[in-house]
């Protein structure tokens, strides 16, 4: 296994959302190997690896979230606030008569406003946000770097054929039929604790 070559699937993303700007955050990324996907968590000076072999992947799930829309609203509010400040604070006289302080202040506020506009545009163009999970027989792992729907679907389109090549194809009808069989089989067993019973709710379990 010496000299394994990996192809990057996603860029490094912070694991937490509201700690995105802390210095010691954990960042994670996904890489494609010959027979597995490598999940890399980088906490600055150490890296930890988890391997998801194609033959073992049971499900890949994604759920669209409102996080992108919320950030659009927040950034939009800040953009509007700074624009309002700039408009109200700029003198009514022509720019030729502005003092150095006024120009400096205008440039500073304008830079901050432009920064917010840039971040807002980037957020809009990146598209809707999502949460994604990979499940195997022994674990369900959230993949923080699968955070944008468009990008996640592109990556899924890349790895789906590899998983199918390792496990075989299964049609939608077969999945429905086997899910029904499984549900009947599970219902016949003594009931396991469900999330409503107070057990820790599984994400995809």
């Amino acid at each position: 296994m010496a000299g394994l070559k990996y192809k990057r699937l996603t860029r490094d993303r912070a694991a937490g959302r509201f700690i995105a700007f802390t210095f010691t955050q954990t960042r994670s990324s996904l890489w494609l190997g010959d027979d597995h996907i490598l999940f890399v968590e980088n906490s600055g000076f150490t890296e930890t690896y988890k391997r998801f072999y194609f033959r073992d992947i049971q499900t890949i799930g994604l759920q669209q979230t409102k996080r992108g829309r919320i950030w659009n609203i927040i950034l939009g509010i800040f953009t509007a606030i700074f624009l309002a400040i700039i408009i109200t604070m700029l003198p009514k006289s022509s720019p030729a008569h502005w003092s150095g302080d006024t120009i400096a202040g205008g440039v500073a506020l304008g830079s901050i406003w432009a920064l917010f506009v840039l971040i807002l545009m980037l957020n809009v163009f990146a598209g809707p946000t999502c949460k994604s999970f990979i499940r195997t027989a022994v674990q369900t792992e959230e993949i923080p770097s699968f955070c944008r729907l468009r990008q996640t679907r592109k990556v899924l389109a890349k790895i789906r054929p590899l998983i199918v090549a390792a496990q075989g194809q299964i049609t939608v009808e077969e999945v429905s039929a086997r899910m029904q069989e499984t549900t009947t089989g599970v219902a016949a067993q003594p009931s396991a604790p469900t999330p409503a019973d107070g057990a820790a709710p599984p994400i995809l379990s």
């Binding site: 010496a2 890296e47 499900t59 027989a137 679907r153 075989g168 029904q180 549900t183 999330p195 995809l204």
Partner: protein
Amino acid sequence: MNPVIYCPKCQTRLLDGVFNRAELEPCPNCAAPLQIEVFPAFFRKITPGPPAQAVMLEGESSCFFHPQKKAVVPCGGCGRFLCALCDCEFAGEHFCPACLETGKSKGRIKALDNSRTRYDSIALALALLPVLIFYFTLITAPMTLFVAIRYWKAPRSVVRRTRIRFSIALLIALVQIVGWSIFIINLAAKKS
């Protein structure tokens, strides 16, 4: 694990209608847009491993760890004979539990290598961060040199394979050391 799938938002069991669809489908309970791909491994039953068989014939090879059990395979690490119970099959090879543990701790089995220390990042941080309060570089520059030289051949990140960070750290540390040397020499010259 139970062979059922729950909605990641509302934890309702999902029965049908959202699996292997081309587009996002709403959860039947909370309407969260979901797309869930199910693969054949989900329905694969986990079969128990074969039990170890007792030695029946005189002279038959027996397991190193269970002398009453028949050996079925030699360990790929140490060559000891193993019964079906001791046999740990991994990545197409057979190991005894001790060799599997050693392979993991000493990095001999690459597929079990699940963490690496990024000495190149440590060296670069030692070289760069103290520049903000540059008096510290008198101490950190030699430390950077030590880390870069000592761990030059240590296993690097599995995915990022170049030594560019080590090289940059060495360069910065050398510049800092040369700078301090010139400063100290000048100071000594002025005093004398």
